[in-house]
Symmetry: C2
Subunit: 226 residues, 2 copies
DNA sequence: AATAAAATTTAGTTATGCCTAAATTATTCT
DNA sequence: AGAATAATTTAGGCATAACTAAATTTTATT
């Protein structure tokens, strides 16, 4: 008996659902292997749990051997509930406790599983039912529909095109701090100056700063064109 | 496979510690049976876990067969940490989200285990480092000392004595609502009118209301005499 | 089409935290 | 003190969610 770990590193069903949702947003099925990588557990563990979630009543996922998983209506609702919690919490932490956008993710990650529906309603109301979180990500509605994102990845823009940053799809603290230092935050005006066909790098101007950005970044920033 | 319960109703070490703290506040050891009743699990389960907590390094409790449990310094710190979280959260939920004092307990019960030290610091600072929660219970300090409670149980007062309600030690929603309807909330002035030696009932006057209270209630209300 | 490589599942194991039933130890009563 | 009762622990078991190693199925290559 050493430090008495307990706190079983068991992954909650909610986390399974959330990650399956993220993997299937593009319409594809999520492979059990991809899920395993994302959840940082072994592939057999995922297969086992996915089989249970599929044979639960009501079923949370659809699953066929070697075909990967998708969410059922039930499963999707549960996933959107967690995502709504997460994003409302991020907004709430920033607005009322002065967290910065690079600090909120971890905290929200833990809180999202334990807040009540009452708590959810109260913070949503207190903030005037926000549509997006501090990164600009859309917040699922109270009736658990995901609004449609109409902005385009920065990576799809070409020189002379301009727009407003709508959303930055990233959770990593270091990256977020870096992007903020460049002014690459939701609401910022951006103009594409140059495009390099070799590596798909874009040279962009934000405020009075000009920066060269790689695909790894431009694919994560979403723009409302103007 | 039915509704897929998961969410192991496993009791966290933090909860064990919190309940042991509550049972040993009066200086006595906590019996494993009393703990079992409080945690609503079987006595053997408690014995097993308590043995682990005692042989963990660092040990969280001291335990000898048939002698019950007490907290070690480590264990007490961990317990006070959770209690501090709980009470700060209750205060914060009331102050910033408009919860009433009878609604906060459950929510705080779940949140207390997942908030970060950073979160704790932020809400404490935002509220100006409150000394008591909405029920008047003392909040352990940031360095994890429990302040000393200097008020007396209402049950110890006798006619003509007066004072201010300092603290109401109750968590039950119904009881709290009832007490609030009688004006029996922290800060209220109270005067003892009559004492019944048979059943120890007290007749008290709060505001312009006069009420007869049984021991079950008077033992839970703490008064600062005046 | 056959074979090699990769992805995925099955089989079997482990650790944990709970349980019930039985055994033991402590306490109370006459 | 001795017997009856109550409190507590030991023993043995079960369920769950993870794991590794082996088997199988799918996909890619020649």
């Amino acid at each position: 008996m050493k430090p008495l770990t307990q706190k079983t590193l068991t992954i909650s069903i909610q986390d399974y659902l959330k990650h399956i949702y993220e993997l299937t947003e593009n319409g594809e099925n999520a492979s059990t292997n991809a899920l395993a990588r994302k959840l940082r557990i072994s592939a057999p563990s995922v297969t086992g749990m996915v089989q249970k979630m599929a044979s639960a009543k009501p079923a949370l996922v659809e699953y066929q051997k070697h075909q990967g998983v998708t969410l059922t209506k039930e499963g999707r609702r549960a996933a959107l509930e967690v995502i709504r919690h997460h994003r409302l919490l991020e907004a709430w932490l920033v607005q009322t406790l002065g967290y910065s956008w690079d600090e909120v993710h971890e905290e929200a990650e833990r809180l999202e599983h334990v807040i009540s529906e009452d708590f959810e309603r109260r913070i949503a109301a207190a903030m005037g039912h926000p549509l997006r979180d501090p990164h600009g990500e859309l917040i699922p509605t109270a009736d658990l529909k995901m609004p449609i994102e109409d902005s385009t990845p920065l990576s799809a823009l070409r020189p002379t095109q301009t727009g407003t940053i709508q959303c930055v799809k990233a959770a990593d603290t270091g990256l977020l701090r870096y992007l903020e230092s460049l002014g690459l935050v939701p609401g910022a005006q951006i103009e594409v100056k140059e495009y390099s066909p070799f590596d798909h790098n874009l040279t962009v101007k934000v405020g009075r700063k000009t920066t060269v950005l790689g695909m790894n970044i431009t694919s994560k920033i979403y723009i409302e064109e103007s």
